[in-house]
């Protein structure tokens, strides 16, 4: 029976990363299956970007093991990197290369030139970069750079894709196209993990969520599982779940009066009063938009049941 369960695409054991005395990641553990889209959630400074950078092998943790598709990122780095794609929040391209050349180089490095022409055209057209394909990277706007970064992530074969705030600078249509592309990636068996603060999109789209705070995973699971774990009613949305898990951190972002950050992070008394009630019930996942109403959000594709 065990043989039917696919091995995890990403495994993280006891991941710890410190900057000085401050543990950004503190014995973090995580196991994520293939063919899924995972939203990474947490307050500012929770360690999301450090976690993604550690998973990408950009930041070496003090302790812990990361396995990408079964390959240890520390001891089998080359093998692990073959399966790993990374889309950073602020891309940093080669100034002397054009849009298409960046994609071509990555495809060549990964020996993925067989269908490069068709695949690159499809990607560039999907993200509205086709006309700019021969432009040097430094002429791209911030949003276009982000699109190129996403295209670079998709042009080469991978099993795990890490995306750090991928939709932050994208226009609405491009965000929609990104989720389409991610959906196809999932159908091909890929695991995509992305941090984002676009709650509605995440709620509609992700199969699973990883809630992190203070460098630790607070919860991992689908929407229903998280709702049950937080003792929330069935109509509670992702935002409510998030607030329920994070309510212990009340005052986290508020500056301490005496300037002592540690005091601000560790309130001596628990917060008084009832837990934060759900602000508004989310729209039903399968509700069709009214034809007369002007669409206010992109038409995201729904996750597979």
């Amino acid at each position: 029976m065990d043989q039917l369960i696919p091995p995890p695409a990403l495994e993280v054991y006891d991941l710890t990363k410190r900057y000085g005395d401050h543990a950004v990641l503190d014995n973090l553990n995580l196991k994520l299956p293939p063919a899924s889209l995972v939203g990474l959630l947490g307050p500012n400074g929770a360690g999301k970007t450090t976690l993604l950078k550690s998973l990408a092998g950009l930041v070496k943790p003090e302790k812990g093991t990361i396995k990408i598709n079964g390959h240890d990122l520390s001891t089998q780095e080359s093998e692990a990197r073959r399966y790993l794609a990374y889309v950073p929040d602020v891309p940093n391209f080669y100034v002397e290369l054009t849009v298409i050349e960046h994609m071509e180089l990555l495809a060549r490095a990964h020996n993925a030139m067989t269908d490069f022409t068709e695949k690159s055209e499809r990607l560039l057209r999907r993200f509205g970069l086709w006309e700019a394909r021969h432009q040097p990277s430094f002429t791209l706007s911030r949003g276009m750079s982000q699109k190129l970064s996403i295209c670079c992530g998709f042009i080469r074969p991978s099993k795990v894709m890490l995306l750090d705030e991928p939709g932050g600078t994208l226009d609405i249509r491009s965000v929609s196209r990104l989720y389409e592309a991610l959906d196809e990636y999932r159908e091909e068996g890929g695991l995509a993990i992305f941090s984002s603060h676009q709650w509605e999109a995440l709620q509609d789209f992700c199969d699973m969520f990883v809630l992190v705070d203070r460098g630790q995973t607070l919860a991992v699971g689908g929407l229903d599982f998280l709702r049950e774990s937080a003792d929330l009613p069935p109509e509670a949305g992702l935002r409510d779940i998030y607030l329920a898990f994070m309510e212990d951190d009340a005052g986290l972002d508020e500056p301490a009066e005496n300037g002592d950050e540690d005091t601000a992070r560790k309130p001596e008394e628990p917060p008084v009063g009832p837990p934060t009630p759900p602000v508004a019930p989310p729209p039903p996942r399968n509700a069709a938009p009214s034809k007369s109403a002007k669409p206010s959000a992109p038409n995201y594709r729904k996750p597979r049941s």
């Binding site: 930041v59 070496k60 990197r81 073959r82 002397e96 290369l97 180089l105 060549r108 021969h134 970064s149």
Partner: protein, 529 residues
């Protein structure tokens, strides 16, 4: 005036903090021991600097005395170099771009400050002299002047001071020339086409090699005489006249620049400054990225002028596949798009480093130069070699997101780029040593150095790799903070080279082999968790 003081105070404060950070001095502490530490640092740096300067002068004098350099032709050589520098400035001023090198914060400040354009021009002109390269030039000139005096049994301390002063005045005069010509484009009058500037530069270039050159390039004439020619004839009156002449030129330069600044339009200068500032900021601030900023300028200007460096490129043959060949393809694309002014010096550095260093070490050995001279040359060679070797890798690491998407480990990535960095000096050194067999140099020394050159460059490669492995393990993935092979790498390489160079071949090979094996062991087994 207050605005000016505020502007400078910020910069001086930044420098002060940087200096304190380097020496680890806490200026806020009232502790007596901390204050005493400050006094100690000042004395150490001051006395240490003086001692090093004297030591350098004496040693360079000794080296030059080995080669018995005649001062008269050397003075002519210095004059020609300075005259060529003046010609180059005329050429550069024809296509000067972002002359002021404003920072973005400066631009924000200037756009709201009541300062006049004349004052801004003068202030930024003065600021443009505070560069390490200019400091290095003045120091080298002072050392050359002092050495020349030392060789002709003159007063080398006085020559050190006069050399430094004359070099400073020459830099100010030549800087003034460049700014006066470069600021021309901001004056609302019709100006000649840049091609005219290039033509003038070409004509001046020809004139450098005519008998009229000393009269046309008189700043170079006076400076070269003060630096070297004076050592042959220590005439106090002539010295004072020459220094006075240079001072007068400085004053004239200030006046002309002031007038030109007043007539300039600030808006286009600020606009270009903003563009340059954004580019520099985008290309980050360290040395590896400074080259990227220059490339960015070049590509941006080509694109604006419609000269297509970015036409649709035909897809390369399928041969260029896999990590190694793709890295070569990437470097090929980069080289195609580098400006000539960047490509040629880069190639010259890579080829020249190996060729000159290998040949120089052989010549020193044949001349039986003293140990101290050989060791100094070895450390200099290693410094240049390490810089040439790690440049490419550091540049690539400043694109961490591309690094992550490359299908190789960071160690292997480092190996590929370090091989690319060290291969050119290695090959050029070997080729020069091979060609030197045709000359009258001692063949035994040449044969042993052909072997030593190979293993010693490999020592540098392995040591650098070890330092990069360590640096990458602790790297935060920030492109502003790319790892480097620091002074310890230089010391390690320098020690290996020094032992190998002064001992016989077998000892040299033994030492180099020990360094390589222990380095490889370290790279393979060191764990930085």
């Amino acid at each position: 005036m207050n605005a000016l003081l505020l502007l400078y105070e910020r910069k001086i404060e930044r420098l002060r903090r940087l200096a304190y950070m380097y020496v680890g001095y806490d200026s806020g502490s009232t502790d007596v021991s901390e204050k005493l530490y400050g006094v100690y640092i000042v004395i150490l740096l001051g006395l240490g600097g003086l001692f090093m300067l004297a030591w350098i002068v004496v040693n360079i004098g000794k080296v030059l005395s080995i080669f018995t350099v005649p001062l008269q032709p050397f003075s002519q050589l210095v004059f020609t170099g300075m005259a060529l520098w003046l010609v180059w400035l005329v050429f550069r001023s024809a296509n000067t771009y972002d002359l002021q090198q404003f920072e973005l914060s400066d631009l924000d400040f200037l756009s709201q400050s009541p300062l006049s354009t004349g004052l801004i021009t003068l202030v930024w002109w003065v600021k443009s002299f505070f560069k390490r390269t200019i400091g290095g030039f003045v120091l080298v000139c002072a050392i050359v002047s002092s050495t020349a005096s030392y060789l002709s049994k003159g007063n080398d301390i006085l020559a050190l001071v006069i050399g430094g002063a004359s070099a400073t005045l020459f830099i100010i005069v030549s800087g003034g020339l460049r700014w006066v010509l470069g600021m021309w484009k901001y004056i609302p009058v019709r100006r000649p086409h840049p091609i005219f500037g290039y033509a003038v530069a070409l004509a001046l270039l020809v004139l450098v090699f005519t008998p009229y050159a000393p009269y046309i390039f008189w700043p170079a004439t006076l400076t070269s005489w003060l630096l070297v020619g004076r050592a042959l004839d220590e005439n106090a009156t002539l010295t004072l006249l020459a220094l006075g002449g240079m001072l007068l030129m400085v004053l004239a330069g200030v006046l002309i620049l002031w007038r030109q600044g007043r007539a300039s339009r600030l808006a286009p200068a600020l606009e270009e400054g903003s563009l340059g500032g954004r580019f520099r900021l985008a290309a980050k601030v360290d040395k590896a990225s400074a080259g990227e900023a220059a490339l960015l300028y070049h590509l941006g200007r080509r694109l604006q002028s419609g000269r297509g460096a970015f036409k649709a490129r035909q897809a390369q043959a399928d041969f260029w596949r896999g990590p190694v060949l793709t890295i070569l393809l990437r470097q090929g694309l980069r080289l195609q798009r580098l400006p000539v002014t960047k490509l040629l010096p880069g190639v010259a550095l890579a080829v020249g480093t190996g060729a000159i260093a290998a040949l120089g070490l052989v010549v020193l050995r044949q001349l039986n130069a003293s140990l101290i001279v050989q060791i100094q040359v070895i450390f200099l060679v290693n410094w240049v070699l390490l810089r040439a070797g790690v440049g490419g890798l550091r540049r690539e690491l400043s694109h961490p997101d591309m690094l992550v998407n490359w299908p190789v480990s960071r160690l292997r990535f480092s190996i590929y780029y370090l091989v690319l960095g060290f291969i050119t000096p290695l090959v050029s050194g070997e080729v020069v040593l091979f060609l030197a067999l045709l000359t009258g140099l001692d063949k035994t020394i040449l044969y042993s150095w052909q072997v030593l050159w190979l293993v010693l460059v490999v020592v540098n490669f392995v040591v650098t790799l070890g330092f990069f492995k360590r640096g990458l393990a602790k790297w935060s993935g920030n492109p502003l903070d790319v790892p480097n092979a620091g002074p310890f790498a230089l010391i390690l390489c320098g020690v290996a080279w020094s032992i190998a160079a002064v001992a016989n071949l077998s000892t040299g090979l033994l030492v180099a082999g020990a360094f390589i094996l222990s380095g490889l062991y370290y790279v393979r087994n060191a764990d930085f968790d």
